[in-house]
Symmetry: D2
């Protein structure tokens, strides 16, 4: 850019570019202030005071640092999104094998109504989809170029900030120079998206740990993801999931660190800004590593037994019996629920099961609660209480019925494709920018 704008001559520019290309690795040296000074020294060595001495025209560490963070961050963020997509993909694959795996749906950690495992897994995909959306939306705010802001007031050299932004593959300029060097809301925003993602993951992991417990016994972790004990074979500790859970909590602290650092900080550049990038990189790394683990774990989960056949879950279909009374026999909703509730209460007190709900019992309860004399068919009772039928009957949009979940799987796959295209586009743009910069530098050198 300096050459194009004729701020330095073509000859100078070529020599600077050659010298910069010649630096392949950093050698830490005592007494060296920082990497910027190191590069300048190397360039001066490779050229001379006159040429190398112009390297820092229209630049400052303040704008360079913010630019470098953004260039690394856009890559890391793209990688994280790609990894989350892999996890979503794994969840969809797993779901496609469990469309008919009837599974207890919980509220308050108590079995509430039957769903399917696929239905639950699609919910997880949808949660992660919003995480991906947030990260995608943060991206354009990350990918703005601060270069040319210099220390904080731009420069009196006739630079083209647009050209630098273009050469570095940015989507645009962080225009106002005071804003450009001092703002780090882009960094806090990315951390916020990662923190929200972390709480989402921690809830998914909490489900797995509980369902994997001996007592719930709904899911079995693959051996590779659990630690066994030589003495207690019943003990398959969910070590990996516990570590993931803890890492997710740690990310919360990283957000708190950075938010506390930025609070009341004077505008523009302060050295504090140097200290807030390590928590950012750490959080991104923890998130990505944990996501990778889960992407491998979900497809290996084994469903243990037929959970809905356990006695305890018998009454999770009770609402459907009440609905049947309303829909088919015209009992008002509230009265139907009271009637079914009364029947179940009586049964529970005598250790009865759902198969003990007879037409007689139910008719009496309806009579008492709704003052209606009905003739209820036994088949209606059985149908209503059958978990598989329950699930099939819940086929409104977003419900657990296999055909509805199948439809949802299809739309999610489409969305994943579009997310993957986003990742590909961003990765390509990042690599293209690097290559183009290289090419243009080489072209200039070659002249």
């Amino acid at each position: 850019m300096l050459m194009e704008q004729e701020i330095i001559t073509q000859a100078e520019g070529r020599r600077l570019l050659q010298a910069l290309q010649g630096i392949h690795q950093l050698a830490a040296r005592p007494g060296l202030e920082d990497v910027h000074m190191y590069v300048e020294e190397e360039v001066v060595k490779a050229t001379n005071d006159r040429v190398g001495g112009n390297l820092h025209i229209a630049k400052s560490r303040n704008d360079q640092v913010s630019t470098a963070i953004r260039m690394k961050l856009r890559r890391d963020l793209t990688h994280l999104v790609a990894t989350i997509i892999t996890l979503q993909d794994a969840l969809l694959d797993t779901a496609s094998h469990h469309l008919n795996t009837v599974f207890p749906g919980y509220t308050h950690l108590r079995p509430a109504q039957p769903i399917t495992l696929a239905h639950y897994l699609v919910a997880c995909v949808d949660v992660l989809e919003r995480d991906v959306q947030r990260m995608k939306e943060a991206y354009p705010r990350v990918n703005q170029c601060p270069m040319g802001a210099c220390a904080l007031a731009t420069t009196s050299f006739p630079i083209s900030r647009e050209r630098v932004a273009e050469l570095l593959g940015f989507d645009g300029l962080l225009e106002n120079s005071v804003d450009a060097v001092g703002s780090r809301d882009f960094l806090l925003e990315v951390l916020a998206t990662v923190t929200i993602f972390a709480t989402d993951i921690s809830r998914m992991v909490a489900d797995l740990i509980v369902w994997n417990s001996l007592e719930f016994g709904l899911l079995e972790l693959p051996d590779a993801f659990s630690a066994t004990s030589s003495i207690m074979p019943q003990k398959k500790n969910p070590d990996v999931l516990e570590v993931v859970r803890a890492r997710m909590s740690r990310i919360q602290g990283r957000f708190a660190s950075v938010a506390a650092s930025l609070t009341s900080l004077p505008s523009t550049y302060n050295m504090d800004l140097q200290e807030i990038t390590p928590p950012l990189w750490a959080a991104l790394h923890e998130a990505e590593a944990s996501t990778k683990i889960l992407a491998e774990l979900y497809p290996e989960l084994r469903v243990s037994g037929r959970p809905l056949e356990k006695a305890g879950y018998a009454f999770t279909t009770a609402t459907e019996l009440a609905n049947t009374l309303t829909r088919k026999y015209g009992v008002p909703f509230r009265a139907a629920h009271k009637a079914v509730g009364a029947v179940i209460k009586a049964l529970v007190e005598h250790d009865g099961a759902s198969r003990d709900i007879s037409t007689g019992l139910l008719e009496a309860a309806v009579k008492e609660n709704a003052d209606l004399a009905l003739q209820i068919q036994q088949q209606d009772i059985e149908d209503a209480l059958n978990p598989t039928r329950f699930v099939a009957a819940h086929h409104v949009r977003g419900g657990p019925a296999p055909r509805e979940v199948t439809r949802m799987l299809k739309t999610r796959r489409r969305r994943l494709r579009s997310s993957r295209q986003w990742v590909d586009r961003k990765s390509a743009a990042q690599s293209d920018a690097e290559e183009r910069l290289d090419r243009e530098s080489t072209a200039h050198e070659a002249v």
Copy 2:
């Protein structure tokens, strides 16, 4: 919707709608479980067991609660955005009066280079613009309808979730029913955007408090925003700004509360979710109230004196002198900076000022540092060191030069108009939905 789908009859529906319209205020009663039960009871009273007993068909507290939070939140969020726009507007207005108010630009809380007050204020507008963007982008994730998810597994009644979403003014469905009742990432996301906004505001406020100090003496707070002391008239305490600063810190804690609550929480509904809305409302209220105060305060700020004429700021233009040596006299950048640095160092040690920089001194320094024998013109030195000229010379994109800031003001005003249109559209959509719902209910009643 229940009528349209023929789940209840037209007659029942009309009576239910009439009964609901008749409830004008809530009367807390002992023994009442919650507001949902209260409404049902009232409706039953106004109709009968048969009709009123069908009010809760295809509904659950779980989906209703999430729906209600989202309906309130979309309004509150729109209000907050509107208030931030008002603050941005106030900043732009203030900026337009200070295009030529040369002002010290700081890094590390030390004067670095001259900018203008307008330039700084535009930076604040840009920071807030990204806050507004984040809130706008969060909006569509808030404005999704969970209704019909019921307890967590939808319902076997043939409801139309799309119709309910439309009637309630939502942009779409929160489709998967497990996701619909249990996810609160939308809430944490809004809190995150408010928390990022809070750190931004706390930095702006920190600037004002320091600049308003007796020692900096750059700005004077309007009397209405400072507490004076009957005995110490020199004491105009920035009480209001201190309270705003503290409230912004408090918002960080509200985010931490909610993030901690959601961590490891089992999926779907748990009572914990009831406890995370108060911090949300509180944070939104604190943010909005503080923003309103600042929108009134900025236009009343008085710039005290001509800050850049103070002795201490004399050398903030030194970089420009070095740039002049490079640009006009061909001294390599690094050598030029060293030469100017050497001159200033000598002057500072003898309590000299920038006006003591003579051509002789400078020529000698260039000779020593760059081994160049120059004939420097006194006028070039004076021009370079003049803060007003400094500012004018920094006219690259995003720089402090008045004409560049004027251009930036114009583009920001355009953006504000577009933001205001967004607010108007959202507010209108919210009100339209309410009115339409009312109208359709009344139409049904009227039949």
Copy 3:
């Protein structure tokens, strides 16, 4: 004090005291700056400008505010400690009924080894004991008197700060006046102790929620603490515990708020300090209310069935069988564990139970793993695998054996008595101070 030091006359002092005693309640009035001004105005009204005008000699809002916070905080903190003691007491009482209730001990949420419910409850008491200790240790740092520090530099009047501290019931002076008006570490410390307590409680509550689940079925919540559903009698939602859990998380955010507010705050008084007391009071209130609930809940817990007889827990005593091989038969520890492990692994693979461990199987495994030919007695196997014997055999200090837990209960009861004495002493000191102040004021008035 002003009278005693002859800063004001006896006559003036008496009239001031009378006027102050005459203020019984605050009437908010528009235009009133704060409560300090209100009191002064009332006193002036009740006396005159001359007498009332001397009320504020050697005082400032800065030292008064800090003093008032400390006086309220020492009471609230004492109440919280008293409430925690009540909870400890409830836990000990409950424990005393469950000395022989063999219960699965968990690690990684997987059954590990048998303990007793009493053993677990004593662990909770010990955790809370350290919380109490921390609060007790914070107390003397709270109960220091800042009065006389005035605005920040004390006063030139010959006051006796010691006498004021004594009259207000403080343990000592917060001596340095700059420290006295500006430091709030005492407040952050109390919040820290409450936050640590909150994480402790949240772990105890997490245990209860999981153990109360249908699947774990170890404990049953009393009806008063769970929400039942009219339609699903199997559903006893642990609403109260969930709310307590969420409140404990909220306290974390309150600590974060205050810590963020104090960060980088200039020394001495700033208005931010006014904003950090509401989170303190809220946290104390939330902690105390939740503790009260738990103190009522624990004694009502019902243990459901005989958990250790469930098949899944069969092997939790396996380590004891290995220990027996080492202790009685001289098999090296590691080899003994391997041998038992091998036996169990084989059984688990064929759905065997612990009663299937025969002398033959075990002898073969020992031969293979330790190359030892043993004659093992069947009784030794049965004894080792019996959970009740397991518990009884673990009678080293701190172990689950009933006689050891009985001993521990005794020492904890003693400690509780000592804690209760601490509470009584502090409460008495607080009340005594108030009464003495009243008495001395009245005595002065009476003269």
Copy 4:
């Protein structure tokens, strides 16, 4: 202990001890589960399956891990306390040179009343003293021995937990075995004390950064602690202090990480506990490193000029003039303050200084505000307004008068000596324990 209790034979014990002494460094090997397994393998290699196989009698990773953390933590905590003492010492030394350095005392970042630099520095020492107290009080809760708790239920071997605790230099036992393996409140408590310390330090650092600004110009940072700019000699950036400030904020996040991890964690051991020690060590390291820097920095601070002679500070002694009217001339306090306030207000409006307060002006103001006709002596006015006299007159306990600060310095030095003795005692106890353990091991070997 195992030998003493005759759980293993003397011969076995000797060979185990020899083998353990022979392990000098860890060599990471792929496939190795953890350090515990490594040690056992090495011991088996150095002995045989029979002897080495008994190494793990009556131990578990669960109690060993908690023990190891506590042994490292007690050392690190002692080091941190020692470092804080060094900082306190540096502050006292610095204070002793500034007993008469009159300095503006601030509230709300506005000059309020004169104090001395020594007075301020003693306040810092007192703040840190409470930090030291908290750490000292946390120490005995850290230094409790969990060994013998094994997995969570102790052991059936007749171990002596007391003897192990003694040999490892612990103050006592963490008695209840469930508590022993699963509680980490000691860790969160230490982090809390470090976090409170961090907010204290961040306030001290904030003072220095502001006072070091060009505009406040009260203090000058030593060159070694500031970054200069080659081009802007006026720019001495407080880089080191900014980094310290940011690190202190980071510590807040570390507390948040650990608190979030512990929230709702099931009792006893979970792998999450492994993830919460890195934030602990990091926080301790950051705190200690920053403290060391400050201990070197304070003594090198240079006071720039005679701050109280600047015009802006003229009226900081105004309260004393009012006090003089009350004390010497009998004007009621409130009226005196109003009178002085009126005089100053008039002067400020006409750019007057405090030396313009004449007897006439003051007498007129007293007449108007208190309706008293006084004859005020000019000397009284001058004495009251003189900052040095102001400071000297504020000699009540804790005040800025040099003689009072001298007294305070003396008592603080005494306290430091006592703190140092604490450090020495703890360090000695830690080393003694190590040596004794070594000695006893060697003695056993030698037999």
